[in-house]
């Protein structure tokens, strides 16, 4: 038993994230560059930004959970479990015995009466769980995959890329060797091997994705740092007696920030899509849309077919990735006029 219950931890994380977002927003507001880029982005892709905001808020609401108030009457177990805001939007025992079609009154197979006739907007899955509920909960997993992994990828890539690019020499040789070694192994296979070693679970999967994902970004950072290091203003800062760390923090890092933003956006969609493949291989994250799609694989073969599970999960996944891709394109256009060239 850990000292902090998972749901409390999750609440803290949400609070920190919210605080961080507010702080980032405040900083961005102060900086003309960023606030202008932000305004332009919203102007260009209002719908996609709105969709992402929706996904993020659902994920946030699903991350804030507390015990008590709700749960099926008379069931101590359910009452003692933390329920998130999203969970609370559904009745505590909003369950059927098995499949039911969207808004159906009777069970899909056998035709028995439902306990909540006509109220499952997207039907129920094989265990009778409401598909809408599951789909909403999937948003949290998707953002977790993207967010947590980026949290590993970006600092790691920045650290390695900057030290290689800035200091050069031996450090560069070592970083470059590690990068080329990791990059030589087919990504998916390395990912699978890592998950086999690290074990199964959301954090492990994210760590594995992080380990395989930082390489490409590290290369970009290294190249860019290489260029920045030679620029006159960095030289001027040296002449002004600014320490190496100071130069990195004040001149190199801020001038890499646009790359970080672009990478984050592009990385995100790739990560969520590859989780779907992992789900097929049986090493995905529980509750992800990838798992729902994987499960729906069998359901399409049923006769009459169960389509709502697949449609719900893949629409949600598609909508998120599409919005992120659109926003990613726009971000790249706005922040980097040269266009970096897609991926690796």
């Amino acid at each position: 038993m850990s000292l902090v219950e998972p749901h409390v931890l999750s609440n803290i994380v949400v609070a920190v994230l919210l605080g961080g977002a507010v702080a980032a927003f405040a900083i961005a507001r102060r900086s003309d560059l960023w606030s202008q880029a932000g305004r332009e982005l919203i102007g260009r892709r209002p719908i996609a930004i709105g969709a992402i905001a929706l996904f993020v808020s659902v994920a946030m609401l699903d991350s804030v959970a507390w015990v008590g108030g709700g749960g099926a009457a008379g069931n101590v177990l359910e009452q003692s479990r933390p329920r998130s805001v999203v969970d609370r939007m559904f009745a505590p025992d909003f369950k059927e015995k098995s499949y039911s079609a969207p808004l159906a009154d009777i069970e899909f197979y056998g035709g028995a009466d439902l306990s909540h006739p006509g109220s499952h907007l997207l039907g129920t899955d094989i265990l009778g769980r409401d598909v809408l509920h599951l789909t909403l909960k999937g948003a949290r997993v998707a953002l977790l995959i993207g967010g947590l992994t980026s949290l590993i990828v970006i600092p790691l890539a920045l650290l390695m890329g900057i030290s290689a690019g800035y200091f050069g020499g031996r450090i560069d040789d070592i970083v470059f060797f590690v990068v080329s070694t990791l990059a030589s192994i087919p990504t998916l296979l390395l990912l699978i091997a890592l998950i086999m070693v690290l074990g199964h679970g959301p954090v492990q999967v994210c760590v594995a994705m992080g380990v395989t994902g930082w390489v490409g970004f590290c290369r970009i950072v290294r190249g860019e740092t290489f260029k920045l290091r030679e620029l006159d203003y960095v030289q001027a800062a040296r002449a002004l007696g600014v320490s190496e760390i100071g130069i990195i923090l004040r001149h190199i890092l801020p001038n890499l920030m646009h790359l970080v933003v672009i990478t984050f956006v592009l990385l995100f969609s790739g990560l969520v899509l590859s989780e779907a493949i992992l789900a097929y291989l049986g090493i995905g994250i529980d509750g992800s849309w990838g798992q729902m799609i994987d499960q729906a694989r069998d359901e399409l073969a049923r006769d009459p077919i169960i389509w709502w599970n697949l449609v719900a999960a893949s629409t949600a996944l598609f909508a998120l990735i599409l919005s992120v891709n659109f926003v990613g394109d726009a971000v790249r256009d706005i922040l980097d006029p040269k266009t970096l060239g897609e991926g690796e």
Partner: protein
């Protein structure tokens, strides 16, 4: 030039050693030989059989260092067997790995080669078309379609393709494989189609960016001023000068021709290397997985060396110190 090639190759070899070390760390430090044995020989096997299996597969040796005979450790065995391509036997069913790789290469290639060649041609062709009509609604629609295509999961392409084209429309058989060429074409049609559809969005978008960048350059404007036709400019100048990014993308994807496609092969029942790997993953068949990862990495490193050398040949501007 020769010195560069030699040095580049030597560095490639060093990277291969790095890959091997990483593979060793991944596969040997984690594996629990006796459980692998149980999985391979069967639940019902008595302990001495399991131990025999462990010995036969060399998993009983000291991991890093053997004070009695320094050459007789798993580490040394690992490097020796990988570097000599003596992959030994599968952990799952004791079949010789190299032979299986050889057998799986054909089916894999028969799937990936059409996807690869048609994909490159179609990608370059369509993106030239789209780039030619840029800033018209054809271009904008093309870009939106590409993003749409890139946002779909490959699982959805496969499931949807099998369901729609195979089951509902009955154009092609849903899955299967046959070595005789005439029948093979019928079976391969659907997976090739799905593979193409899945990759096309990304590649069109990539090539489009490359072409549009090239069309913006001075020499294109000069050519246009000289009165060259649009088609000629696209075909001769732009395509020619966009060769480097195209080449990079193409060469780097060559290794994947051999390693096959994990998902396509297992969904469509193609007995290639991809489905072999899926089996290995499901069966915890480390020996096979290790060999496949190694070969994949080897091909990738080789392809990269070739790309680097090709750079110097294709583009006189690229000078490698």
């Amino acid at each position: 030039m020769l010195a560069y090639i030699v040095r580049r190759t030597a560095y490639g070899f060093v990277v291969v050693l790095g890959v091997l070390l990483l593979l060793f760390a991944l596969f040997f430090l984690y594996a629990e030989p006796i459980e692998m044995a149980r999985r391979a020989v069967g639940e019902k096997a008595p302990p001495e059989v399991l131990e025999q299996w462990v010995v036969n597969h060399g998993y009983d040796k000291p991991t890093w260092w053997n004070s009695e005979s320094p050459g007789d450790t798993m580490l040394v065995d690992h490097f020796r067997s990988m570097l000599t391509f003596d992959f030994g036997r599968s952990d799952a069913d004791d079949s010789p790995i190299l032979e299986r790789i050889r057998a799986g290469m054909g089916p894999s290639l028969s799937l990936t080669l059409p996807i690869f060649t048609v994909g490159v041609l179609l990608g370059v062709g369509l993106s030239l078309f789209v780039a030619y009509f840029r800033e018209t609604y054809i271009d904008r629609m093309g870009v939106v379609l590409c993003v749409l295509g890139m946002s779909l999961s490959i699982l959805l392409y496969i499931i949807g393709g099998q369901f729609l084209i195979g089951k509902m429309l009955r154009w092609f058989p849903i899955s299967g494989f046959d070595a005789s060429p005439a029948v093979m074409l019928r079976f391969l049609a659907l997976p090739v189609l799905v593979g193409l559809a899945e990759g096309l969005g990304g590649s069109i978008r990539f090539y489009r960016t490359v072409f549009i960048e090239e069309t913006g350059r001075d020499y294109v404007r000069t050519a246009r001023a000289k009165g060259c036709g649009d088609g000629r400019i696209m075909a001769r100048h732009v395509l020619h000068n966009a060769m480097i990014p195209i080449l990079t993308r193409v060469v780097v994807s060559i290794p994947f021709l051999f390693t096959g496609s994990l998902l396509l092969e297992s969904f469509f029942g193609i007995p290639g290397l991809g489905s072999m790997m899926v089996d290995a993953i499901h069966g915890n068949d480390f020996a096979t997985l290790r060999a496949m990862v190694y070969i994949g990495a080897l091909l990738f490193i080789a392809a990269q060396i070739l790309t680097d050398i090709a750079y110097t040949l294709v583009d006189p501007r690229v000078r490698l110190a």
